[in-house]
Every structure is written in structure tokens, then in C-alpha cells.
């Protein structure tokens, strides 16, 4: 029977045989492929659902409640959102601080990273060593130790004050002055240019050498080659780095927390958005209020990322569009 069953297909042509033979195989194989795929995906998928999607949805609910962590949440409607925008001067301050930080630290970081990538994209001896050295700050940058180091460098008798003092600028303590504290954090962020630099370096390596050759033959100098070849060819990478930077710097937390002892001081001058979320949620026990702030931040980041994507068609040149 089994033979007879399989002998049904030989009646057809060779071509149709192979098709008929392949069909059950094809139907079976993707199924098992998918099963294995889902199996391997499961740890991440479960993690996503349980530890990310679940809490995210709960926080959406909590943002409409009065919740102090210890007692059951009480539904208050949109009250948290209304309070944020009408009766909370510290929230406005947190927005000011965060926007100032994002719009200075992110571009400066990118420019710095690009400049160093250009420098390090040369064939000199020991270039690997230099690249490693310039990447180190990024490995250290987010850590508590560096935040404390920063406090010392920009403190009252810190290196910066002493050097400036040598040049006759008798300054104060930078980290503890409301006018300058935020700028020390911008500098800290710019100093962590490493990961953007590595991505730029990879981008620079992708630019075909013949473009430069052709341009050189046409008489283009270094500056022209940079403006008309390097920069346009690099725009996809710049775009990628820009999106990452926007998202990262909106969420900056650790340096401000350490340098200000968790308070966002002096005088709320380093009250980053995420730090204020933390203070309201975990110090003042207003978790519903903090959740509302978290959702607004999500929307803000979403809007700015979308703007970056919408603008990209005007300035980002992809290879295939050449």
C-alpha cells in the first residue's frame, strides 16, 4: 500500500513529481522552523511580556491613580496630568533642564565623535591603541566613580578651578553653582563620545575609495572632499547616531543623581526629567504621578524620534540612491 500510495505521483511528469514531493516537505518544514524559532525566542519574548510590556501597561493605569507604593491605587482620572502642567513649577524646571541638556549635549557629542573618528581613520602606527584609548571614557562614563571624579574635577579646589585660576579666572566651584552645574554634566556627556565614534569609524570605512580618487583627479581639496563626499556619504550613520543620542540623553540619570546627591540640586539646576520621576516615585511615594511623567516622557521621545525620521528624507542620502 505504501508503495502503491507513493506510486500515485510517478504517473505525473518529472517536474510535477518534484513539486508534489516538495509540497508536503515545504508545508512541514516552515512549521518546525517556526517552532524552533519561537522556542529560542521564548526567553526574550517572555521577558518582554512579563518585565516590559506588562509593567508598561500597568504604569499607564497607575498614571491615572493616586498610588503611594504601599496602599492600593485610587483612581483620580487625569488629575496627575493636570497637576503636572498647571501646578508643578518643578516639573517645568525639569523640562527646561532636560531640553537644554538634550539640545546641547547630543549635538556636541556627535560633532566631537565625528572629529575624533576622522582623526582616527588614518593609517598610522599603533592606531588600534589610540582607538582603544579614546573609547575608554565610554566604558567608564556612566559609572558612579566617574560622576564622583567629575565632582572633584569641577569642585572648589578641583583641577578646572586651579587651571582657570592660573590664567587669572578666579572661578567658583562649578558643580555646586546653579549657573554652571548643568554644563559640567554636558561636558561629561560629550566626553563619552566613544560609541558614536566607533560607529562613525565604521561608516568612514564604508565610503568607497574611488570616490575620493575621482574627486582628487577633478581637483577637489581636503575640505571639498569632506563636504561633498565624506559628509553626504556618512549621513545614514549620522542619522543613526542622532536617533540614539536623542533617546539616550532624554533618559540621562546617573550623573545627575550622583553629583547632586539624588536631589537635582543646586537649586534644581540638574533636575533631569528621569531624576524628578525618581524623586516623586521613590522618595515622595507618588508613584501614580511619576507614572504620568513617565508616559509624557515616552511621548516626548516618540515625537522627537519621529521628527528625526521625517526630516531624514531631506538630508540623509542612502547608498542605493546614488
Amino acid at each position: 500500500m505504501a508503495i502503491g500510495h507513493s506510486s500515485e505521483s510517478p504517473t505525473a511528469t518529472g517536474l510535477s513529481l518534484s513539486r508534489a514531493g516538495a509540497r508536503p516537505k515545504r508545508a512541514r518544514k516552515p512549521l518546525s522552523d517556526n517552532a524552533y524559532g519561537y522556542l529560542f525566542l521564548a526567553p526574550w519574548l517572555i521577558g518582554l511580556l512579563v518585565f516590559l510590556a506588562g509593567p508598561t501597561l500597568v504604569s499607564l493605569y497607575l498614571s491615572f491613580t493616586d498610588f503611594n507604593l504601599l496602599q492600593p491605587p485610587k483612581w483620580v482620572g487625569a488629575q496627575n496630568y493636570i497637576t503636572l502642567f498647571t501646578r508643578d513649577p518643578r516639573y517645568m524646571q525639569a523640562l527646561r533642564v532636560t531640553f537644554t541638556y538634550v539640545f546641547t549635549a547630543a549635538p556636541l557629542n556627535l560633532i566631537f565623535a565625528l572629529l575624533l573618528a576622522l582623526l582616527l581613520n588614518s593609517r598610522i602606527r599603533g592606531i588600534g591603541f589610540y582607538r582603544a584609548v579614546y573609547y575608554i571614557p565610554s566604558l567608564l562614563g556612566g559609572s558612579v566613580a566617574i560622576a564622583i571624579l567629575w565632582q572633584q574635577i569641577f569642585g572648589l579646589d578641583g583641577v578646572v578651578s586651579q587651571i582657570l585660576g592660573f590664567f587669572g579666572v578666579h572661578g567658583s566651584s562649578w558643580v555646586s553653582s546653579p549657573k554652571q552645574a548643568l554644563w559640567t554634566l554636558v561636558i561629561l556627556h560629550v566626553w563619552q563620545f566613544g560609541s558614536a565614534m566607533i560607529i562613525f569609524l565604521a561608516g568612514l570605512k564604508q565610503i568607497p575609495g574611488e570616490l575620493y580618487e575621482a574627486a582628487t583627479i577633478d581637483g577637489a581639496g581636503k575640505v571639498h572632499r569632506f563636504w561633498f563626499i565624506t559628509l553626504p556619504m556618512l549621513t545614514p550613520v549620522i542619522f543613526f547616531n542622532l536617533v540614539l543620542q536623542i533617546i539616550n540623553s532624554f533618559q540621562a540619570f546617573t550623573p545627575a543623581f550622583i553629583i547632586s546627591g539624588g536631589k537635582g540640586g543646586p537649586l534644581d539646576s540638574t533636575l533631569f526629567y528621569t531624576l524628578y520621576v525618581y524623586i516623586q516615585g521613590f522618595t515622595n511615594f507618588r508613584m501614580g504621578y511619576a507614572s504620568a511623567m513617565g508616559w509624557i516622557l515616552l511621548i516626548i521621545i516618540g515625537v522627537f524620534t519621529a521628527l528625526a525620521f521625517l526630516s531624514s528624507k531631506y538630508w540623509v542620502h542612502y547608498d542605493d540612491a546614488r
Binding site: 496602599q71 572648589l156 558643580v175 539624588g262 536631589k263 537649586l267 525618581y278 521613590f282
Partner: protein, 442 residues
């Protein structure tokens, strides 16, 4: 018949033997697990959590060793760190149902309100926790709605640490315990020179100064930081007077400008340690830790008084003794009796006292305090004398802070900063303080 029975017995015995072997083997295989289980039931674990500096960490770890040696099979897991972030972590642990069994709590209000901390009254009534030698007035300060949720793990008062070296060099006498605010201002001015300040400011970016210090002044006028109903207990006049007093000292160079004060992230980086000031206001309980950070000899003086003063004038003594920190039990503690025994141990055990000494301030039990006083360092002797002086002169009365108290304290710190950094006038700062405090207190 007998034979038959024997046979049957033998048969059943044989059958039983087979079964017994199996059961026996099984039991044998499981027995280590069983003993393991019973062992685990004997061996209790307890989690103890506190904040502090190295000195306190070392002494508390030794304390744990001693308690464990008295309770064989008990393992205490210590959880400790600095003050910054301590309460945030603890509250989160409570929210997650994963809080320690016994602990120091910085802001007990919300935890008590939500029923997370154990009322100790039953244990006190039963004598498991013996408070007969503890200060009644301080015990009273730890009561919430008439229930005793904690016992003081050391007594302290707000005080000034004085750098004796600077006083000697400047040929200025160390003030008497009864000094007034006028005398304080005079001493601060006479110790100042360019780049050096007679005294640290009354606020700090970190820690718990500002509102607690203001309360010393308010008590001179029979007022408190809060009313019993949980509203602000003072008016714009007092706050204006307070800000003005400090602003004048700042402008005279007797206390440091804002950016110097803002550098203090804890007493480790306070101006008395970094060599910027000669007098430093803080809770007296850190005496030995603070002395450990400087070669200059330190002594302790109480907060100045407004009686007989023109500045910050009042008609009764303002300074008061409180518990430097309190020990609490989790309402879900695994073994509440054992936790209560530990509380009693830190409060009354003479051996424990000899380990702790003054790591958390003056021992709350007067008997224990007398016992260890001969063993302590000069700065601690001076601290004990100061706390005693304040306890003898303090006026009765106390109003506990509402659960948003620490939020108002943070607001007060920011208000101090607004004045110190000259971001707002005193009048504007005062009116903003009352607006925002009203909002916080609801």
C-alpha cells in the same frame, strides 16, 4: 495453629522484610534531606538593615556576631550603606514585599500609615523589650497615634562641632553651653578670614538640616515645624527672621556662600573637614565618625539659645534631645519574638553596649550610657555632656512630623538655596515656601 501462626508471622515477616528493605532504603536515602529540612527549620535567618558610616558598619557587624553567638543556629544577614538612597530602597523593598525584618527607618510615616511596621507595645508590656531605663520624653517622640512603633537606637541633639585648633589659633574662647545666637554670630565673624568661614551654613544640599534646625528656633517661641493636624506650624514672620539672620552672616563672610555649602554631600565633605569652616551644625550622633576624619581636636556645643539674645529671640530654651535613629520591626518579620529580642539586645545588653559605644549617639538607656561612658573618646565625652545639658534644659512638648515632613524639609532646603544663591529675594522665597508647602501637605 501455633505453627500456622508462626508460619504466617514468618511469611508476613518475610514480606515485611522485603517491604522494610525498600522503605528502609528509601528512608535512608531521604534522611539527609529530612535532617536538612529540620536543620533549616532550626536555623533561623533574620535580615537587619541600617545606614551609616564605616565606623557604624564595623560596630554593627560586631554586634551581629555577638547576637548570633547567643542564638546558635541564627544567621543575621546585614544590609547596609550610606544615607543617600537608603529610604528609597527600603520603601521599594516594602512595596515589593521583600523588606528586612529589623531596620533603621529614616521616614517611618508612610510605612506606619500603611501598616508595614510592628507596634511594639505588647512586647514592651511583656517586658521582652525593656524600656524602663530609656528616656520617657524621647520614647514619647516615637509614638504614632499613641502606639510605640520604635525604640531609640541612640540619643542625640542638634549641635555645633567646633574645631579647637582654629579657636586656639585665633585666640577665641570655646563658647559655653549656654551661648546665645548673638554670641554665635560674634564668634563666627571673629573666626572668619578670606576664604575661610567662622561657621558652616545652616542648610546643606544633602542630609536633614534646614527644617530640623529651624525647629530649634521655633521652639524658643513654643512653636513647632508642624501643627498636630499636619499643617505648617509657623508663619512668614519667623521664616523671614530666620532667613535674614543667615543671609546677614553670609554677606558678612561668617558663613560660606551657596556654592561652597552646596559642595557638602555628607559630613565627610563638610566644610569643617575640608578646612573651610570652624563650626559645623549637625546631629551630635556622628561625633566619633567626624573626629576620625580630622587631626584637629573637635568639641561639641549645643545649638545657641534665643533666651537673652537679640537675634532669633525667644523666651524658652529651643534645643531638644531626640533619638538619633530608631529601630523598627517589619510587621511581616519571620520571627517577631526574635526580632523583639534583638531590639531589647541593642537597647539593654551591657556587652552589646561595649561594642556599640557611641556609634549611634548616646545609648538610650541611662544605665547603659553610664556603663560605657568611661570607655569613650574625648569628642564622645563632649557629645555626652552636650546631650545631657540639652536634656536638662529642653522645654517639654513635641509635635511629630506628618508623613510628608521630609518633602517639606527638601522644600526648605531649596528655599535656603534660593536665598543663598541670590535667585530670589527673601520675601519672595518665603511666600513661595508657604504656597508650595501648602500644596505638599494638601
Amino acid at each position: 495453629m501455633a505453627k500456622q501462626e508462626d508460619l504466617e508471622a514468618a511469611g508476613s515477616a518475610r514480606r515485611l522484610t522485603r517491604r522494610t528493605i525498600l522503605v528502609g532504603a528509601g528512608a535512608l536515602a531521604v534522611s539527609p534531606l529530612l535532617s536538612g529540612v529540620s536543620f533549616a527549620q532550626d536555623a533561623t535567618t533574620m535580615r537587619l538593615s541600617w545606614w551609616g558610616s564605616d565606623d557604624r558598619h564595623k560596630k554593627t557587624l560586631a554586634l551581629i556576631q555577638l547576637f548570633q553567638s547567643k542564638h546558635p543556629g541564627l544567621t543575621i544577614t546585614p544590609e547596609y550603606g550610606g544615607f543617600v538612597g537608603y529610604q528609597d530602597k527600603l520603601s521599594t523593598q516594602f512595596a515589593g514585599g521583600n523588606a528586612p525584618d529589623v531596620m533603621q527607618v529614616a521616614e517611618p510615616g508612610p510605612l506606619i500609615a500603611s501598616g508595614r511596621l510592628l507596634a511594639l507595645d505588647d512586647y514592651i508590656a511583656a517586658g521582652t523589650i525593656d524600656v524602663s531605663n530609656a528616656s520617657k520624653s524621647v520614647l514619647e517622640t516615637a509614638k504614632v497615634n499613641g502606639k510605640q512603633y520604635s525604640v531609640p537606637w541612640g540619643l542625640a541633639c542638634g549641635c555645633y562641632f567646633l574645631d579647637n585648633q582654629v579657636f586656639e589659633d585665633a585666640k577665641v574662647d570655646i563658647p559655653d553651653y549656654g551661648w546665645t545666637w548673638d554670641e554665635y554670630a560674634k564668634v563666627a565673624k571673629s573666626l572668619s578670614k578670606p576664604g575661610f568661614y567662622g561657621s558652616a551654613d545652616i542648610w546643606a544640599a544633602a542630609g536633614t538640616r534646614s527644617l530640623a534646625a529651624l525647629e530649634v528656633f521655633l521652639r524658643e517661641r513654643q512653636k513647632y515645624a508642624f501643627t498636630p493636624e499636619g499643617k505648617i506650624g509657623f508663619g512668614p514672620d519667623e521664616l523671614t527672621e530666620w532667613f535674614t539672620f543667615w543671609d546677614e552672616l553670609r554677606k558678612a563672610g561668617a558663613v560660606p556662600p551657596g556654592e561652597v555649602t552646596a559642595l557638602e554631600t555628607g559630613f565627610e565633605t563638610s566644610p569643617i573637614i575640608t578646612g573651610k569652616a570652624a563650626m559645623y551644625p549637625i546631629n551630635s550622633s556622628i561625633a566619633s565618625s567626624l573626629q576620625g576624619l580630622t587631626k584637629h581636636k573637635l568639641t561639641v556645643a549645643p545649638f545657641p539659645t534665643g533666651v537673652g539674645s537679640t537675634a532669633l529671640k525667644g523666651d524658652q530654651y529651643g534645643a531638644f534631645v531626640n533619638s538619633s535613629m530608631q529601630i523598627y520591626i517589619n510587621v511581616d518579620a519571620k520571627d517577631k519574638d526574635l526580632a523583639a529580642a534583638f531590639v531589647n539586645f541593642v537597647l539593654n545588653d551591657p556587652e552589646a553596649a561595649k561594642i556599640q559605644l557611641m556609634a549611634r549617639g548616646v545609648p538610650a538607656s541611662s544605665k547603659i550610657a553610664e556603663l560605657v561612658t568611661p570607655n569613650i573618646s574625648p569628642v564622645e565625652q563632649s557629645m555626652v555632656a552636650t546631650v545631657k545639658y540639652v536634656a536638662d534644659h529642653a522645654s517639654p512638648g513635641f509635635v511629630p512630623w506628618p508623613k510628608q515632613g521630609s518633602e517639606v524639609q527638601d522644600l526648605m532646603q531649596r528655599s535656603h538655596q534660593a536665598v543663598a544663591f541670590e535667585q530670589a529675594s527673601i520675601a519672595d522665597t518665603v511666600s513661595q515656601f508657604f504656597d508650595q508647602a501648602g500644596q505638599i501637605l494638601g
